[in-house]
């Protein structure tokens, strides 16, 4: 699924790096625990999280995550957005809860990481 399609499904707002129109999201993983995220191969995987700080961005940088779905109406600050741009990461902001976001993506055919 394309990044813009996901944004549309969750009534999201796109910030950070410019959208790669060809990038395919196939899987999702939901966590607020960054070392949990660093356990896995995150290729073609969107991270669904409510953790909104610089460490979210650093973790995604190390894990090669290109798309973050940030729930609970969290608002990334300029520092985070700069880090996102620097590391080619797109942030989709949504006011929905993590449970709702996960349900929507699952229902739309996005696969769980495990």
């Amino acid at each position: 699924m394309k990044i813009r399609e996901i944004a549309q499904l969750v009534d999201g707002v796109l910030v950070g790096a410019p959208v790669d129109e060809f990038y395919e999201v196939e899987k999702a993983f939901a966590s607020d625990l960054m070392s949990d995220v660093l356990r896995f191969n995150m290729d073609q995987t969107v991270l669904i999280t409510g953790l909104c700080n610089n460490q979210t961005m650093r973790t995604c940088e190390m894990a090669d995550i290109r798309v973050i779905l940030m729930g609970r109406d969290k608002q990334p600050d300029q520092d985070m957005i700069d880090l996102a741009v620097e590391n080619d990461i797109v942030i989709i902001k949504s006011r929905y809860s993590i449970f709702k976001l996960s349900g929507i993506l699952y229902g739309a055919g996005i696969q769980p990481l495990y």
């Binding site: 070392s35 650093r58 190390m62």
Partner: protein, 137 residues
Amino acid sequence: MHYTFKIERGNFTDAGQASSSVKRTLKQLGVDPVNIKRTVVALFEAEINAVAHAYGGTIDVDIDGEKIVMVVADEGPGIPNIDLAMQEGWSTASPQVREMGYGAGMGLPNIKKNTDDLKIDTKIGVGTTVTMTVYLT
């Protein structure tokens, strides 16, 4: 090549900068993506541990054609029981550290998994030195 970085106690705004810088360097050197990820995940976990559980310290990275050696040395409380600390899920992270997104008790296991060699020297009340090696071949 040799690189040195400083780690500041409790600074979660900047934590990860050293690992980020090493990642950029490895990309420029043309190291393959799998080895880059292994290296930076391990280094990042060790860097965060020095910020979260100790009072800061230094990172030394040596890169040659066949291996990457990373030494993260902190001043801090030390690790009383390394076997316990190595277990998945074991964590003594403070509420402040948990708020930053850490405390799963997965950092040291992640380091173990991603490196070819891991050595932890620790002294109670003095500090901890984590030495990690990734072979590039």
